[in-house]
Symmetry: none
Subunit: 202 residues, 2 copies
């Protein structure tokens, strides 16, 4: 007996994706059904289904479909390799979400104390990375500039002190941000930021 074949609808129901999505994956060659019925119906094999599940896994991790295709096409990579990589990715995502939950908790807690977090603090919790990322963004835009080369020289010799310096620099950015929003406001926010920097440093 041959392997079981399933129609789009069946696959859709099994996996929770839409029929349109399966059509789409077929169109872009990401998941082509092993067979077609005489009438042109897509018929997915068990292997196809397994492939779909791997696709969905990576999709959940926010990879774009092209990249997913590349990942799945990599024959060199063993199953164990893939599993370990998946584990790392998952763990990282879970950790990040845990951190966001924690941040929300912190905010809720603060509100309970009547000390509702300011937007500035929210930025610190959720967005400090974004600020640091300015540097990365800057690299793309100003990759050739003097300033950047200067930074890069520092970066190539990273020591703990260098990182502290960068962090302080970042705190400076925070300060400018605060000043922009309301000159002279909320010194305690600044303190909080510095305290956080200290904690990260240790």
């Amino acid at each position: 007996m041959t392997a079981q074949e399933h129609t789009v609808g069946a696959i859709a129901e099994l996996t929770g994706v839409s029929v349109r999505t399966l059509h789409h994956y077929d169109e872009i060659g990401l998941l082509e059904p092993g067979e077609r019925s005489p009438a042109g119906y897509r018929l997915y094999s068990g292997d196809d289904l397994r492939r779909l599940q791997r696709i969905l896994f990576y999709r959940e991790l926010d990879f774009d479909l092209d990249t997913i295709g590349a990942i799945l096409a990599d024959l060199a990579r063993t199953d164990a390799d893939r599993l370990r990589e998946q584990r790392a990715l998952l763990a990282a995502r879970a950790e990040r979400q845990r951190a966001m939950v924690a941040a929300i908790d912190k905010e809720l807690n603060a509100r309970k104390l009547g000390l509702s977090l300011t937007p500035q603090e929210r930025l610190e919790i959720f967005g400090s990375t974004r600020l640091e990322d300015n540097a990365a963004r800057a690299e793309e835009q100003w990759g050739g500039s003097e300033l950047w080369r200067q930074r890069q020289r520092r970066a190539s010799a990273y020591s703990a002190d260098d990182w502290a310096e960068i962090r302080d620099e970042q705190a400076g950015i925070h300060q400018r941000l605060l000043d922009a929003m309301a000159p002279g406001l909320s010194r305690y926010v600044h303190d909080a930021i510095m305290a956080n920097a200290d904690r990260s440093r240790s």
Copy 2:
């Protein structure tokens, strides 16, 4: 003295969003600058900036822009309500992912008992939790950044070919992954990993 006004570029630099994004938010009425200069320049006030930060806060939590607009306009529902909702959502996701991690660990363990793993792989498994913890921490710092999302979600910046390149070099997969996510940071991550390894060894 009047409240300070900032041009698009200033706001962009302060918050890390692109000028185009600010234009877009203006177009759709999500964030309209309080004023325009005689020449038509957008001038953002401190209030505008604060509104933008709230927008970014919710965007970080994956609300679509329409919804964010509604949230900001909704005076009745408190922020705390929404935060609690979002908290539940995030917690659920994180839980699901922890479960997946556990499942993968289980499978890896099974394989370890089998014969398929090389000595090096076994070493990786034993030492992996620490290492991946670091990767997770790194992603916690950088994962929320614009760049990350650009790389992960919006495809063209990081193509399938790039990925092929990465995967072709089998050593240091995690580091390369991180490098891909945030160029120039790998060194820091590497240092952190090595430092951690040293500590574990002693």
